[in-house]
């Protein structure tokens, strides 16, 4: 599916999913396996691995998809525990909280945000070249797992 591939490309990652195992329900996309494919009927609400949804032509990824991309060669920023906590509270990332950068450091590029355990917390957009020394926020928070709590409100 083009939207998913294009989304992964923004992280410098290539993702290939068997298109016959991607199902769509209205604007939401799911990845299933052969067993689920045999059992599923059209009126399902949710199935398998949720990949994300489109809204006004824009693709909004699920956390499962972000974790799938994180398993590939992709732009990743590993942050310390305090920064990880601030990030899932919706904050941007400052340079001093960054422990390691894998892949792009270029302004405007997208990067996955990982904690010290290698778990994907969400993603952001690099605000200025990560080699530059600046006091301002370095990565803008676009989506973080704290969203699960915000959804409930």
């Amino acid at each position: 599916m083009k939207q998913i591939k294009d989304f992964a490309k923004q992280f410098g990652a290539r993702i290939s999913l068997d298109e016959s195992l991607i199902v769509r329900k209205e604007n939401r996309y799911f990845f299933i396996n052969e067993k689920l494919k045999k059992l599923i009927t059209r009126d399902f609400f949710f199935v398998g691995t949720y990949l994300g949804k489109t809204k006004n032509g824009k693709f909004f990824p699920s956390f499962n998809l972000l974790s799938m991309i994180a398993e590939k060669k992709a732009n990743k920023t590993i942050v310390d525990s305090k920064t990880a906590w601030l990030f899932i509270c919706g904050r941007d990332i400052f340079k001093q909280g960054i422990m390691k950068v894998i892949g792009s450091k270029r302004k405007g590029d997208y990067t996955l945000i990982l904690n010290q355990h290698g778990e994907c917390l969400g993603f952001g957009r690099i605000l200025h070249n990560l080699d530059e020394k600046r006091g301002k926020a370095a990565i803008e928070n676009i989506l973080d797992v704290g969203d699960f709590l915000r959804r409930e409100k």
Binding site: F45, G48, F63, S67, L149
Partner: protein
Amino acid sequence: MSGKEFFVSRYEKLGWKYENVKPKQAIRINMTNAEEDDIIKRLKSLGIKLEKISFLENGYWVCHSEFSVGATSEYLLGLYSIQEAAAQIPAPLFTDLKDKTVLDACAAPGGKTVQLADLMQNTGAIIALDVRRQRLTALSNQLERCHVKNTIVYHMDARQASRLKLRFDRILLDVPCSGNFATDKEWFSRRTIKDVEKNAKLQREILAEAAEILKDDGEIVYSTCSLEPEENELNIEWAIENLNLQVEKINCYGEKALTNIFGKQLDISIENCKRIWPGQTQGFFVCKLKKRVDAL
């Protein structure tokens, strides 16, 4: 026929003296997503005091936490779930869940669905139903958070599950029930015996549908968080008499269920069901049913 006095006197007739209790909060480690030792160490480092629940495989009491255990990155990453201790009992009662086709008939908000997926290691398939559409979003969020991959969710009344035209190896009936006072401060002022009878009727209809779509060698686990015998022992007596089901022995926390309800003698096999009076957990009832061999 309602009010605290009415219900408390019923409990006394059933052999339990009422006491006001506050069940402890509990979590369950999602073993598919986390190493138990590692996650416990991480939660301890956050200042969360945990204690292993002796009667559960992956359950821990939350003894102390300065903040909500639902607001840690470990929770948001699906490494553990917040699940009341008694509610963790039903899913592991099934034998051999791997690669099975499982029905979770009244699934929302999804705590037990996630637990089933964890026990199945995301193999096989879970068909999760719920009749209340607005609760399906909460269920879906749980599945996404915990990286569940083997579930199909339908907006469907459990009493119509045969419309799926499937037969199931395992059926979890954590049926809608009247609840109990331990988790609802207003319970005594809100509930009447009519509510209990209405719920018992609905539960029988769900049981009947489940018996129809269960494979011959399949298993049903039936549970409620109600203390009322109409929703528990009396419903199982009805299932034995009307649905060709038999009660299986189970090895889990809880007392033997009652076989004499207000003077009525029930089938002796009902003592294989488990009844949990409120204490450190909420009130609960659970049993395992199979098709009667002589009825196949």
